[in-house]
Symmetry: C2
Subunit: 401 residues, 2 copies
């Protein structure tokens, strides 16, 4: 997770401390493209959103974004008209230091909600953030650290792709570790590439990747008011994207980076002891497979069974059964960490204590497969989640307001 | 909850011990109507269902049901063709003792899944269950006790209605206390009335009542493979139901009985410390209000906040925000136990420690109200749930297979 990752060509980044957090930890992250970048964004679908979501959502897709500024420690959400103004002021501050238009700057905030943003310390910190930005992996890592709230480690990923015409790089930084009071610990990610894409291509690639990464993770099913994923493509690799194959290769790299960041969030889930991968195979559409994977992954009873290293297949198959997909259970099979426990609608005898032993490792893998009947087909989905522990409840129920 | 409740005219009930449970606790409940009763049922919508659900679902609506037999300790689910045969044999055993057709008997089972039903002890117990049935409240209570699995108290309710022509009674017994391993502790309820209704009226009344009771409770969002609610109406009160007003009065009594049983299930939720009522007012349809109530009630973060007596309004309003209803947050208000904390989209200053103090009582009331904008209207929904405690996780994660 914390190996060395480098930025794509002509991107810079910094992480600094402007003084939002009482802890004195870094709280201001900045990502800069030295040349205008095409950009796209995917945002929370929550009806209640933070001011930065409003501002950034209005500015993408775009062809000439120069920077993304992110503060942690305060979400600037439920802060009314002043909050809106504060988000605009943040982008103006960066624009002034970069000598560009405020419209070319995107903004995200994460942290406590309902508290006015300490705008003075942020605006004072912005010129320093610009000046201290670096092209190397250390600036990139500093930025990822400055995005953290309850995260226990910074989340970075990168992938190099060799296209027909040359090498391009995709690099991303993310944050998120479920939601913990009193802040709503938003999921944020900034993905950068030196590939040459227009904003429509960025948008399509980002939606594809998010559908297979950030939209396939769940810690507690709660959607934050500020979730944001941004993709910037500045074309600085110098290589044109000429073929569908190139675009597919870049899309694959963006998806891989998004999946690494998304699964890092699950690995960092508060109070969790298991990292759970739910694979659902054999459905007629991606959507039906997704419904089943999500229902299984979000079941409190499935999660607590895994906490207890209990191969309780009944909780898993019954969660699949109430997902709203009209499949025939007589065609359903389930394996847990490679052991077949339910096959074509019937329990399979298995060594429960041996399987329980296997489940004591951090990674648990559930594979649900449909092999015939209604809704049978060749679509699959992979979903990731964490278990539900007493520690999760303790962390989330301690009095905080 | 455990006050004296009597059965309607010409109903009998018994609870006995036939030997399914290792604990030696009562495990066989029987409800008999001395005259054929119109009947309707509402069943789990899970695709994976127990054999008794298959059998009973095929027999209602019906005009001449004579009995409902219920065993606890074994759910007869995921037991294949043998399980189907076992469920049919149970109804045949009761029919033989009552000298009626097996088709006139309904069956439910609750307890561990994937284990063959010990049919011999049940069939041996059935004649005794018929013989020991009583018309009084004590037989009724015994039956409710024999339905219990992880329940800590039997669940009974009754309501008398004075119609234009005379008095009728509605009485019901239920069981359920969330789901706890290894059994999937199904929700079951049998509602009886001496009102004179046909099966179509039974069906309409039961669906109305279930929509406002058992469909409005959630402990952990997990739907069992065996959930069943049955309504039997034998007409033994001797009074015809002549007017819409009479039917509405009976529907009201059935709804009241269902709500009492449903909320008893929440009060008996494993490991819970709070009984939470979520009221949602001011939406354009019952369905939109329901979506919001359910999303709030099932949010792990809302539940854990309440466990911690934390008036964390951000978790509540954001859960409402992601319910998939396109309302305008600027028209949303929230009170917690009578204290206004969020009004027209803005936080309201309140004494957090005083409100937290108030939340230390068992009952917590959340009231979300929409007062204008899209989806505004005059529909409301009441939903009940429990909080999420470390004890819940402990109970559900202890190794059990």
């Amino acid at each position: 997770m914390d190996t060395t990752h480098e930025l794509p060509e002509r991107f810079r980044a910094s992480g600094s401390t402007c003084g939002i957090k009482d802890s004195g930890q870094p709280d201001l992250a900045l990502f800069i493209s030295e040349t205008p970048a095409a950009a796209a964004g995917v945002f929370t679908t929550n009806r209640v959103v933070g001011a930065p979501v409003d501002v950034s959502r209005n500015r993408v897709p775009a062809e000439s974004v120069r920077a993304v500024v992110i503060n942690s420690g305060n979400a600037n959400a439920c802060t009314g008209e002043d909050g809106q103004q504060a988000a605009l002021t943040m982008t103006a501050g960066v624009a002034s230091a970069l000598n560009c238009d405020p419209e070319q700057v995107l903004v995200c905030s994460t942290g406590i909600i309902g508290v006015p943003l300490p705008l003075d310390v942020i605006t004072a910190g912005l010129p320093k953030a610009v000046v201290s930005s670096q092209k190397n992996g250390s600036g990139f890592r500093d930025a990822a650290v400055a995005m953290m709230t309850t995260d226990t480690f910074p989340k970075l990923a990168s992938s190099d792709v060799v296209t027909v015409t040359g090498k391009i790089r995709v690099s991303g930084a993310g944050k998120g570790a479920a939601m913990i009071a009193p802040n709503m610990a938003t999921m944020l990610a900034v993905i950068m590439t030196d590939a040459s894409l227009n904003s429509a291509q960025c948008d399509a690639i980002l939606r594809f990747a998010v559908d297979r990464s950030f939209n396939c993770i769940s810690v507690d099913g709660h959607m934050s008011t500020s979730d944001t994923v941004l993709l910037l493509a500045n074309g600085a690799s110098g290589f044109p994207v000429n073929t569908d194959a190139d675009e597919t290769a870049i899309r694959g790299a963006v998806t891989k980076v998004c999946q690494e960041l998304a699964t890092d969030i699950i690995r960092d889930a508060e109070g969790s002891e298991h990292f759970i991968t739910v694979d659902v195979f054999g459905f007629d559409t991606r959507q039906t497979a997704f419904q089943i994977a999500k229902e299984v992954a979000e079941s409190a009873l499935v999660k607590t069974a895994i906490t207890g290293n209990d191969p309780n297949w009944g909780r898993i198959t019954s969660a699949a059964g109430y997902a709203g997909v009209e499949f025939d259970p007589n065609h359903l099979s389930l394996t847990i960490n490679g052991t077949s426990v339910y096959r074509f609608g019937n329990p399979v005898p298995f060594d429960a204590s041996a399987l329980s032993q296997k489940m004591q490792q951090k990674d648990v893998h559930l594979l649900l497969e449909l092999s015939g009947g209604p809704r049978f087909g060749n679509h699959s989905v992979r979903f990731w989640t964490s278990d539900l522990t007493q520690d999760y409840v303790r962390l989330n129920s301690e009095y905080t307001t």
